[in-house]
């Protein structure tokens, strides 16, 4: 009975192909696709999406994966939306060219976004609908696989449908599915042969670019800049940095520690930095809130610290697995008392890689907190990364004590930076102090000493301002001499970049936001008559930053639903303004 049903299905598919869909699809340009794979939590859609992305990566496409999941372990609805394109495009499209449904829910939620005639490839053991049903569970069972391997069958069937040869599929699966590879390949082969080819997506280049999430890039960037220790308390969407580094502890020679709370995280990290270890911590907004007293301590004690803040939708617990860029103003001003910090907001994995490395170096060069401000989509989505970026990241040595005379931890210097020594140095007694202190680090409440130490730190902050102008703090995309410019940061710059390019306007992306790169921003704004901020928050936090530095923002396009902008959405909203 069951077999008979399947046969009927197969013939239906054949009919569909014959009745013209093949012709329809092949007419369109095949260089920019949107694929959505969805299912319940626990069905493994994320890994399946990643393998599909890697298949196209092997064909030389640029790849971007948007991850959408809920705060639950089993059930619900998770999906990965994959963009594959010839041109770099790190945003998802509103429309879906291929819908891969592991469950009914996926079909119901997303079929409305499917392009006309776009195929639905589905688990025919669970769903009865029109389209290309694959008996993925049955195939898996017949080959003796476990239920999760049904994903392998779906991936293989999809590869066949889009014309990827079995050799390429096999190579990718062998690399990605390290457990029970043989069995997976058997399942893949059967599923591959069970379906028909629909379109031919051909190789576009010989490049097979690296793929990684923003958080993986953060971890690797820190590693390449000489990270020794990572302290973190689990909090979405920063947790995967901890997990990734913990998994690779031996290989990277980086120790990870999970203390009892975020207060302990930052205070342990400051102890570790004081003892000479290059240290980073990671959290989201709520955890960062708990750390703020420690941040101020890092400012006062001049203890190097890289703090990674992966924003999620707030306020408070907010929407843990969705995104808002709502912590910018908070991290710029967090902490009591006057002290400066670097705030760096990368907008994709490649920027995470480079700027995390830079951030760790800056923390040590300037003995100050550096906040790397990511967001849920930058952190957890998957991007292409240029291998060459790795060679740009090296540990930069801090200013070390020359071992002459008596050591003074807070020696007053022209540039405000005091040479470092660490406990264990036979010639030095190292005293770090949360109180205001003299040059040795001894507590003081003397007027002159207080002023001198405040001024020493202020000179250091001035050096930091100069440093920022030498760094790639502001990036420009689109039409350079356009009179209209967008300003976007974090994940939003990805969709805004495409919108700007499509509309022939300019996009300005501030990456280092504190100290604010005034000169670079003034240069970027030359000739711009209208400046529009595009941000994922409800108050326009980057617009506030720009306005506070004297750069007038004329209009704001804001989105605060937890989901990042679509390119088309920005374009529609822009057309109403300009």
């Amino acid at each position: 009975m069951y077999m008979k049903k399947q046969k009927n299905k197969k013939s239906k598919i054949k009919n569909k192909i014959v009745t013209g869909r093949k012709a329809q699809l092949s007419k369109t340009s095949l260089k920019d696709y949107s694929i959505l794979i969805g299912g319940a939590a626990g069905q493994g859609t994320r890994l399946a999406g990643l393998v599909i992305a890697k298949l196209f990566g092997a064909l030389g496409y640029h790849v971007y994966i948007y991850e959408d999941y809920q705060s639950l372990i089993r059930g619900g609805h998770n999906f990965s939306q994959i963009r594959i394109s010839q041109k770099k495009a790190d945003s998802r499209k509103e429309k879906i060219d291929f819908l891969l449904a592991l469950d009914e829910n996926t079909l119901q939620l997303h079929k409305k976004n499917l392009v006309k005639g776009g195929p639905v490839i589905f688990n025919s053991d669970r769903i009865k609908t029109k389209g290309m049903g694959i008996a993925i569970e049955k195939i898996t069972k017949e080959e003796g696989g476990s239920p999760i391997m049904a994903n392998t069958a779906l991936i293989a069937a999809f590869a066949k449908i889009v014309g990827i040869d079995f050799k390429t599929l096999k190579e990718v699966l062998e690399k990605e599915l390290r457990k029970q590879t043989e069995l997976n390949l058997k399942i893949a082969e059967k599923a591959y042969n069970s379906t028909e080819n629909l379109v031919k997506i051909s190789r576009v280049s010989k490049n097979n670019l690296l793929l990684m999430t923003g958080n993986e890039a953060v971890a690797l960037g820190a590693k390449n800049a000489g990270l020794n220790l990572y302290f973190a308390y689990p909090m979405t969407p920063a947790t995967s940095i901890l997990n990734y580094l913990a998994k690779h502890q031996e290989e990277f020679n980086i120790r990870t520690v999970q203390p009892e709370d975020e207060i302990s995280v930052i205070n342990m990290a400051l102890g570790a930095s004081f003892a000479g270890a290059r240290t980073a911590i990671g959290t989201s907004g709520g955890g960062f809130g708990l750390m703020v007293e420690g941040l101020s301590l890092a400012g006062q004690a001049e203890t190097p610290l890289l703090s990674i803040e992966c924003q999620r939708a707030g306020p408070s617990t907010g929407v843990p697995t969705y995104n808002l860029q709502g912590d910018l103003n908070f991290v710029i001003s967090a902490g009591h008392g006057d002290f400066s910090r670097f705030v760096i907001a990368p907008g994709d994995a490649e920027e995470c890689l480079y700027y995390t490395g830079l951030g760790l170096n800056l923390a040590w060069q300037y003995q100050t907190p550096v906040i790397l401000l990511s967001d849920k989509d930058v952190s957890e989505n998957t991007f292409n990364v240029d291998q060459k970026v790795f060679s740009k990241i090296r540990p930069v040595a801090p200013l070390l004590w020359d071992k002459k005379g008596e050591y003074q931890r807070y020696k007053i210097t022209k540039e405000g930076i005091s040479p470092l020594a660490f406990p264990g140095d036979k010639k030095a007694i190292v005293k770090a102090n949360s109180y205001e202190h003299d040059q040795y680090g001894i507590t003081t409440d003397d007027e002159k000493e207080i002023s001198a130490m405040q001024e020493k730190r202020m000179r250091k902050f001035q050096q930091m301002e100069k440093e920022v102008e030498k760094l790639p703090a502001v990036k420009i995309y689109g039409k350079n001499n356009a009179r209209t410019a967008l300003v976007s940061w974090g994940i939003t710059k990805c969709a805004a970049r495409e919108a700007a390019e499509n509309l022939g306007i300019k996009l300005i992306q501030p990456i280092i936001v504190e100290p604010f790169p005034r000169k670079q921003m003034a240069k970027a704004l030359k000739g711009v008559k209208k400046l529009i901020s595009v941000e994922m928050n409800s108050s326009g936090q980057m617009a506030k930053v720009l306005n506070s530095h004297g750069f007038k923002v004329d209009a704001k396009i804001l989105k605060y639903s937890g989901r990042p902008f679509f390119v088309e959405e920005i374009e529609r909203k822009l057309k109403k303004i300009i």
């Binding site: 342990m268 102890g271 003892a275 270890a277 420690g294 001894i442």
Partner: protein
């Protein structure tokens, strides 16, 4: 700065037992150095309170931490450089109020640091408020009619959390205290040394302590039962019970 002294003038109240504890600390540091620990490898941290001034008076590597956070900072130092001998010097408000969770977790993970509590059983530097170990009825500036809260027994708390070295000393028995500090630092794993310290300005219980304290003798510190028995003897109230001093409990456990 010479040897273990600094140039910083001492601002503790005249006659404060903190002077005695500082003396014991210096003695302990000298003993450790004699025993082969490099001076450069001794580090201490302090919290905020009268005890914290030790930072300014003791010429050793040190970090004057946030209130309540001396224990995490100490652990970070130890994790970064396991060759260092790290002492977290804390006050009772610092560790039993603000930063209690850190004490429990450090004991639980048996990290090789030593926590030395300067316990004067009140917040003295903020002009006398009750702490978690002030006796019930404590009259301070925030409890003019006496505190209604029961104290807890910190030794029992650390014992429950899995501390592998638990001891109590008395500030005014500086020689014995020095030995206890050395033992605590030399213990492999988490060590906890509670130092009872009269606050001569706000809670002068010198007579009370003199009358109650006694040295643990013939005590089997490897026995959980014996340790708990002795820990339970005095519950930080003003009752009739005697107050044992010495090493209550010491066992070897895997170190973090």
């Amino acid at each position: 700065m010479k040897n273990l002294d600094t140039y910083c003038p001492k601002t503790w109240c005249p006659g404060c037992p903190d002077f005695a504890i500082l003396q014991a600390l210096k003695g302990a540091a000298s003993a450790l150095i004699e025993n082969g620990v490099g001076k450069e490898n001794i580090v201490f941290t302090t919290g905020i309170g009268c005890h914290g001034k030790t930072f300014d008076y003791l010429n050793l590597n040190s970090f004057y931490c946030l209130h309540g956070r001396s224990i995490p900072t100490s652990q970070g130092i130890k994790i970064a450089n396991p060759n260092l001998k790290v002492m977290a010097i804390v006050g009772d408000g610092d560790v039993y109020n603000e930063g209690l969770s850190h004490l429990l977790h450090a004991a639980r993970r048996n990290i090789d640091i030593s926590v030395l509590v300067f316990n004067n059983r009140n917040f003295a530097l903020t002009v006398s408020q009750y702490s978690a170990v002030s006796p019930k009825g404590f009259v301070g500036s925030s409890t003019p009619k006496g505190s209604s809260e029961e104290p807890f027994n910190p030794l029992k708390v650390v014992f429950s959390a899995g501390g592998s070295f638990i001891a109590r000393g008395y500030a005014l028995k500086a020689d014995q205290l020095k030995d206890l500090i050395v033992k605590a630092v030399e213990h492999k794993g988490f060590s906890f040394l509670e130092i009872l310290q009269p606050c001569t300005t706000f809670f002068d219980n010198r007579e009370f302590y003199q009358e109650k304290i006694y040295q643990l003798e013939n005590h089997d510190s490897s026995s959980k039962e014996r340790a708990l028995e002795k820990i339970n003897e005095w519950e930080y109230q003003d009752g009739e019970n005697k107050i044992p001093l010495g090493v209550f409990y010491q066992v070897e456990k895997p170190v973090f």
